[in-house]
């Protein structure tokens, strides 16, 4: 028995060490949010400064802007990109021709596997001043629009392209939930004389609600976090007014300007808010009977 256990340690220790170095040590590096960073002080800085960087952040002239942009962008995502795959799954569910359904599904997944760089590059090509969209505008007698230079266009572009990218893939979980509905429910309803829309309204949608609720809670928990990668590719100083979010600001201040402690403090603040939002969303969902835990 003892010999067996030694082999097990040989197998698990290398991965454990890597997780320690690249996951746990960075976690402990969050201490730096309360300490002054110094190149000689290594990862943990040199001296305690207390809440200095947090106070600095609350007085930052961009504090309000990045929080507003993050929340607004997520709100639009929640209003448009969140329901899109649900509707898509409902439409697919009503298709009786299985081959057609599968064709639509497998094609709708493709954009999910494209790199963000490609999606943004494509969008830029379609929306350039000589691009196909602007030609359409010109034919309608409208002026050429430089979409990526206009702050008021940013959110629409971000949300729109996210729908294109994610709608098919995100619908998988809903399609699976719909496939799990007991067919007897429909048969009974049919015998009772229920119409197509009544079945959707009183069987399909209620059966889908638990899944929707779980994903909604998770989405609300992310209300204050927007991934860095896509915004970074899409924005430029002309659109910072609407496009600059917390993660891109952390990158510019923390990495580019090497304000490490400040960047970590902003990120830390952000994580705390996210955690509280998740708790709040779950509390609300539990009240209506769909809690995560």
């Amino acid at each position: 028995m003892r010999k067996n256990q030694t082999e097990l340690y040989i197998m698990i220790i290398p991965s454990t060490i890597l997780f320690l170095i690249f996951c746990y040590i960075p976690m402990s590096g969050l201490i730096l949010a309360f300490r002054k960073y110094d190149i000689v002080g290594g990862l943990y800085g040199t001296s305690w400064v207390g809440m200095k960087y947090f106070i600095q952040f609350f007085n930052d002239p961009y504090f309000f802007r990045i929080i507003r942009n993050t929340v607004l962008l997520n709100t639009w995502m929640l209003l448009i990109a969140f329901p899109a795959p649900i509707l898509f799954a409902l439409l697919l569910n009503e298709i009786q021709k299985r081959r057609f359904k599968r064709l639509v599904q497998s094609i709708s997944y493709i954009p999910h596997f494209l790199s963000t760089v490609i999606v943004v590059g494509l969008m830029m090509e379609l929306l350039t001043s000589r691009g196909i969209v602007n030609q359409g505008l010109q034919r309608l007698g409208l002026p050429v629009k430089l979409f990526f230079q206009e702050p008021e266009m940013f959110r629409a572009l971000y949300v729109g392209s996210s729908v294109w990218e994610g709608m098919g893939w995100s619908s998988i979980i809903y399609v699976a939930a719909l496939a799990g509905i007991n067919p007897e429910l429909y048969e009974h309803a049919s015998i009772e004389g229920a119409g197509r829309f009544q079945m959707i309204r009183y069987i399909t949608i209620p059966c889908l609600m638990p899944t929707v609720a779980i994903l909604f809670i998770l989405a609300v928990g992310r209300l204050m976090s927007i991934g860095f990668e896509k915004v970074f590719l899409m924005y430029n100083p002309a659109t910072y007014e609407t496009a600059d979010v917390i993660s891109t600001y952390i990158y510019r201040r923390g990495i580019i300007s090497m304000d490490y402690s400040y960047g970590i403090a902003v990120g830390f603040f952000n994580s705390i808010i996210n955690f509280m939002l998740l708790m709040l969303a779950n509390y609300g969902a539990r009240k209506v009977g769909y809690g995560l835990w």
Partner: protein, 294 residues
């Protein structure tokens, strides 16, 4: 589902989905048409859907460009070695966590699962990598994404489904755990290995952020960074020597530039499109097993 007659609703539904289908496909058709159309036709705005005229100079320019070739090679190297690393790093502990009498099973499971929910964020990781002198090396690109607790759990769930009788038989024959892992478990887990390998390959291939953060030398940049420079930032002139005067043909400069961009995008998604049929075969099952147990 109850059989029903085709109604107005069905017709509307099918037409709506057909429109969506076109929205999904259109960008790909457009890219292809742009990459082979006559450059003057592109400049005049005649290319909307199908190609107008024909040229292959855009592809010639792409294939002649050393930066692109090197990016392609680098990406391929990062993706392949990263995938192999992911499979090793994640499947080994996953096997250990399925061994019934392993003493610290709970401790190790918690240790890995915690990393799914908490992270230090980008700056502490950057500092760790810098302190380890790993900046501008392949390790900075390949190691952090390979540490996926999600994949460990996925492997563990699948390894658990292998009947105990098989491993017991090997044990009676005097086999140790390393032998059981290599000769019994791994050969029986090809499907899940394929799922994780495909996911991770596509992930490495498509990512640009680690390279942006950690790589400084021009000759180490992966394809997505090259693509960002040419297609997104539009830093084109000077980096594509002689692309306008390809083979002495008369071309429109800006039309050619746009044609080259689209050719480059198409070339860079080839590996993913090539993997896609395999993905189709495996990924739904992989997507679902994640949530099955525990």
């Amino acid at each position: 589902m109850v059989k029903q007659k085709t109604s107005l609703f069905d017709i509307l539904n099918i037409s709506l989905l057909c429109i969506l289908l076109m929205v999904f496909i259109y960008p790909f058709v457009y890219m292809l048409s742009m990459s082979i159309s006559d450059t003057f036709a592109i400049a005049r705005g005649e290319v909307m859907l199908y190609p107008v005229g024909f040229q292959l100079n855009a592809y010639r320019a792409v294939f002649r460009n050393n930066t692109i070739w090197r990016g392609y090679f680098n990406s391929f190297m990062y993706a392949t070695s990263g995938t192999i690393l992911t499979l090793i790093i994640c499947s080994l502990p996953a096997y250990v966590l399925t061994v019934k009498n392993f003493r610290y099973k709970k401790v190790f499971t918690t240790f890995f699962v915690i990393t799914m929910f908490f992270s230090g964020g980008i700056i502490p990781l950057f500092l760790v990598i810098r302190n380890l002198k790993m900046l501008d090396t392949i390790w900075s690109i390949v190691i952090p994404p390979a540490l996926s607790a999600w994949s460990i759990i996925l492997f563990r769930t699948n390894f658990k489904q292998i009947p105990d009788s098989l491993t017991e038989a090997a044990k009676i024959d005097g086999a140790n755990h390393i032998w059981i892992y290599a000769q019994v478990i791994i050969p029986l887990s090809k499907a899940i290995l394929a799922v994780v390998a495909i996911y991770s390959f596509v992930g490495y291939w498509n990512s640009y952020f680690p390279a942006l953060m950690y790589l400084t030398s021009a000759e180490k940049q992966p394809l997505m960074i090259v693509l960002r420079k040419f297609v997104v930032v539009g830093n084109f002139r000077g980096s594509m020597e002689g692309f306008i005067a390809a083979d002495g043909e008369v071309q429109d400069g800006i039309g050619m530039e746009r044609s080259i961009k689209m050719a480059l995008v198409l070339v860079s998604i080839l590996p993913v499109l090539f993997i896609y049929p395999f993905l189709q075969k495996y990924f739904i099952s992989g997507f679902m097993v994640g949530g099955v147990k525990e």
